[in-house]
């Protein structure tokens, strides 16, 4: 069975239908890049997967946890999928360590020493163990984003959703964040990323999903999708003529 099963998902904002029946199955360990123009629905799809948007129709399940709009189901689902945001969204009133420990303690009821151990381990993993006591506003954008990754990892999710996680970064800071993601991929983490980093998608991902006007327009292994795009829309998007 697939790890993430997305079946006939539709989503409307008022009269405007942004997802028009999405089907996508993700196997464990897959790294999927979702590409497409802005407004194609790719971010909305990602946000639906962990319930930040309620879907209008269809179903989503992650490792057997069904997406339903009540707090208990949402919690079960969100314990399985972590999410990284474009704007980092670190908690400014907590230290880096506090950010990574908070939800272990309040959601999973992990005791403080264990939560701290886990936080230090995860920060080590993203190369920021020395920043444990710093506050988010003392860090660069790239460092903040790596803390956000550590924060999500500390919940031990089985999949991570990455929503344009390098788009808000200065160009020279993009590489350090992508390096962390690359490592996660190598370790077998299941990843779904909305991204504009085509080179990264080509090098790291196992599958590329091209979305257009609320539908999965084309999908395949990166070498196929990038080398021989089938549809005119994807050709235009990639700038291939």
């Amino acid at each position: 069975m697939s790890l993430i099963a997305i079946t006939e998902v539709r989503k409307s904002f008022g009269p405007n239908e942004v997802l028009k029946g999405i089907n996508l199955d993700v196997e464990p360990g897959e790294v999927i890049a979702i590409i497409g123009k802005s407004g194609s629905g790719k971010s909305t799809l990602l946000r639906c997967i962990n319930g930040l948007e309620t879907i209008s129709d269809g179903s989503i399940s992650v490792a057997g946890a069904q997406l339903l709009d009540d707090e208990a189901h949402l919690k079960a689902l969100r314990l399985k999928v972590g999410m990284i945001f474009q704007q980092f969204n670190l908690f400014p009133h907590l230290t880096v360590g506090g950010n990574v420990m908070l939800s272990q303690m309040v959601v999973k009821k992990t005791a403080k020493p264990e939560a701290e151990d886990m936080a230090r381990k995860m920060l080590e993993r993203v190369g920021l163990s020395q920043k444990f006591d710093a506050y988010p506003d003392q860090l660069s954008g790239g460092q903040q984003q790596r803390v956000a990754i550590a924060r999500a990892l500390a919940m031990q999710p089985i999949a991570l959703l990455c929503d344009e996680i390098t788009s808000a970064l200065d160009p020279e800071l993009v590489a350090e964040v992508l390096a962390v993601v690359r490592e996660l991929a190598a370790e077998g983490m299941t990843l779904l990323m909305v991204t504009h980093e085509m080179k990264f998608a080509r090098d790291v991902c196992s599958r590329v999903v091209f979305m257009h006007q609320g539908r999965v327009h084309e999908m395949g292994r990166p070498e196929e999708v990038f080398a021989t795009p089938q549809t005119p829309e994807l050709k235009q998007f990639l700038g291939v003529h």
Partner: protein, 219 residues
């Protein structure tokens, strides 16, 4: 006729000021507690709870405090309770303060970036946990200046309780005026005492606000 010195007048007024301060404290603390409940209703996921809080706030902000005092005073009497002025005064001021504090705090909660809600939700926190650990700690920081500022309105609001017969600073002013026939001096002194209570709060609210703005700019 007995001669009243300024000192006699001032002493009487200051004695009554105790009640102004006490009533202000009770109203502010009580209003804060009810206001907190209103805040939670106002940002609840349930539509009817939000509407309930909204209408409460509009009612109390859209009618004179004096009318609210009258209704508390005469309305409680309908239940056959012999209503002492302090009870009606305290009750009305608590309900009135709650409406304003609830609305001020809602503004502060809504000023917290949407990403904070989303990030904490994606970490599987429930709504109360999000409030308790992520939103309120941040909202409280920005809520301090306007909350301190509102305490000035509460102190000034207590003056109206003199009208339903609660003896505090304003009522004492009227009583002393009637005894001394020196309204200019007495009401001047009353005003100065209010000023001495309110101005430090107004000023600290301004200073706190400025500090917060500076802190924000540094982020």
């Amino acid at each position: 006729m007995i001669e009243f010195t300024i000192w006699d007048i001032l002493r009487n007024l200051l004695l009554a000021t105790r009640w102004t301060i006490l009533l202000s404290l009770v109203s502010f603390v009580g209003g804060g507690l009810v206001g907190l409940v209103l805040l939670f209703l106002r940002i609840s996921k349930r539509k009817w709870l939000r509407a309930l809080a909204k209408y409460y706030i509009e009612l109390f902000q859209g009618t004179p405090l004096l009318m609210q005092l009258f209704i508390a005073f005469f309305g409680l009497g309908l239940f056959g309770i012999d209503v002492p002025a302090w009870l009606a005064a305290g009750l009305a001021l608590i309900l009135w303060s709650a409406a304003f504090l609830g609305e001020i705090w809602r503004g502060c909660v809504e000023a917290i970036a949407k990403g904070q809600w989303e990030a904490s939700a994606s970490l599987a926190m429930g709504r109360l946990q999000q409030m308790r650990y992520v939103i309120l700690p941040q909202a409280m920081r920005i809520a301090v200046p306007p909350t301190v500022g509102f305490s000035v309105q509460v102190i000034k609001g207590t003056a109206l309780t003199s009208i339903i017969g609660f003896v505090e600073l304003s009522k004492a002013g009227t009583v002393v005026t009637n005894a001394t026939f020196q309204p200019f001096t007495v009401y001047g002194l009353v005003a100065l005492i209010y000023f001495a209570l309110c101005w430090p709060l107004s000023k600290s609210s301004q200073i706190l606000e400025r500090k917060l703005n500076v802190a924000h700019r540094n982020h």
